[in-house]
Symmetry: C2
DNA sequence: GCTTGCGCTGAACGCTCGTTCAAACTACGT
DNA sequence: ACGTAGTTTGAACGAGCGTTCAGCGCAAGC
């Protein structure tokens, strides 16, 4: 017996949601498979360029079947973002609870960020195709993205206040770092000479060196 | 009989080109207006998300009129890339012909790059929506992009060889720099606190500082 | 006033895509 | 063997898109 269904009572906040099919647990693995295929297609072709038929074909499915697992295409995109943000915020929290110094925090953040994006998310650049999200989903994703931004900025400010880093605008710095990292999927080639570990290390070297006092 | 008759016999090399409308000179200004509107829409919505109707509406036109100036949507995208690459390669050549040192070369490249992208191209991130280009156009754009890449890498290698910059992989460095810069349009707000000049300066400070010897 | 050609429009066309759904298939408990 | 719940499919639909084109307004030249 399923225990009491939450949020069934009223929920006057939102428009009446269509009933969710309520999939069994065995479907979870397939859902993730779809997410990976979708993320890959979104990255290569953009949200509107990637058709549901292509996303399904990469898994040897027909497109109709995707609607057994997701309500629509936009929900797939949203789920991709949630999946990525889960990993990244989890990483951030780990670092915040550690007792490392600002430079070591930043290094771990960059190295693991690169590793996560390249190896686990198959090159899903973060913060992509945001405009295709519906207003409600967009708000959620932006809120969590800002949370990550803020965490990174805190590390930078900590380093600046402690005199470890040069005194500059932490906001611009964080944009520069995130830009360099988020751009990686555009040129990364898994069969190329540089491994994800190596890229993460070199990027961390470079991006942290620029912060230090001359 | 496999001779290559360039005129009309069979022309197996290229598909038969449709007649080019050959517009009068007065149309050149409107063409650029369309390019700017299109670039803006492509950036915000992606190539497939930006409809020709929206591109036209921003100029108070109807979509049919765009086909008086361009053969199709893909040609508009291609023209956007050519326009950007013209500016950027022009900038690169200016720098190469100067007698500045590697660090000053790189500074000028970054500062002017940022300024050009933000103020002149209205945030057209370079190398965007490449997958939407036809094979022929794609080849041209990639060739010119590589030319720019190579120019930047040369500056870096020059600095490394001269002992001014730390010894690392120039390719990865150039990717990091281009990523940081190309990501700017994603967060830049023209009405925000930071001007394009200021952003260019701070980015150049940071990105060059990371190269110097410790 | 008439012609000419540029700039532009409205309507129409195919085509592709997202989405729906009834039916079919599969694996398993009884 | 049968029923049932989980999963997949094929076909169909409607909307929206890129593209075409005949034709209209209009300004300049004769």
């Amino acid at each position: 017996m399923t225990s009491s269904d939450p949020a069934r009572a009223k929920a006057p906040r939102r428009k009446r949601r269509k009933r969710r099919p309520r999939l069994p647990d065995s479907a979870a693995a397939t859902r993730v498979e779809i997410l990976k295929s979708a993320a890959c297609a979104f990255r290569r072709l953009g949200y509107h360029g990637a058709t549901v038929a292509k996303i399904a074909a990469a898994l040897h499915m027909k497109k109709g079947n995707l609607y057994y697992y997701f309500r629509n295409k936009e929900e797939i995109l949203f789920a991709c973002h949630q999946y990525s943000l889960d990993r990244l915020l989890e990483l951030l929290e780990q670092i915040e609870q550690s007792d490392l110094g600002p430079d070591e925090r930043l290094r771990r953040l960059i190295v693991t960020f690169v590793h996560t994006i390249l190896d686990e998310l198959h090159g899903t650049a973060l913060f992509l195709d945001l405009e295709a999200l519906g207003p409600g989903h967009l708000k959620m994703v932006i809120a969590r993205r800002d949370e990550f931004d803020r965490g990174m900025r805190l590390i930078l400010q900590e380093g600046i206040r402690g005199g470890l880093f040069e005194q500059t605008d932490a906001k611009l710095l964080s944009f520069a770092i995130l830009g360099a990292v988020n751009w990686i999927p555009r040129w990364y080639n898994p069969d190329g000479p540089a491994s994800s570990q190596e890229i993460g290390d070199r990027f961390a070297d470079y991006l942290i060196a620029g912060l230090r006092h001359a």
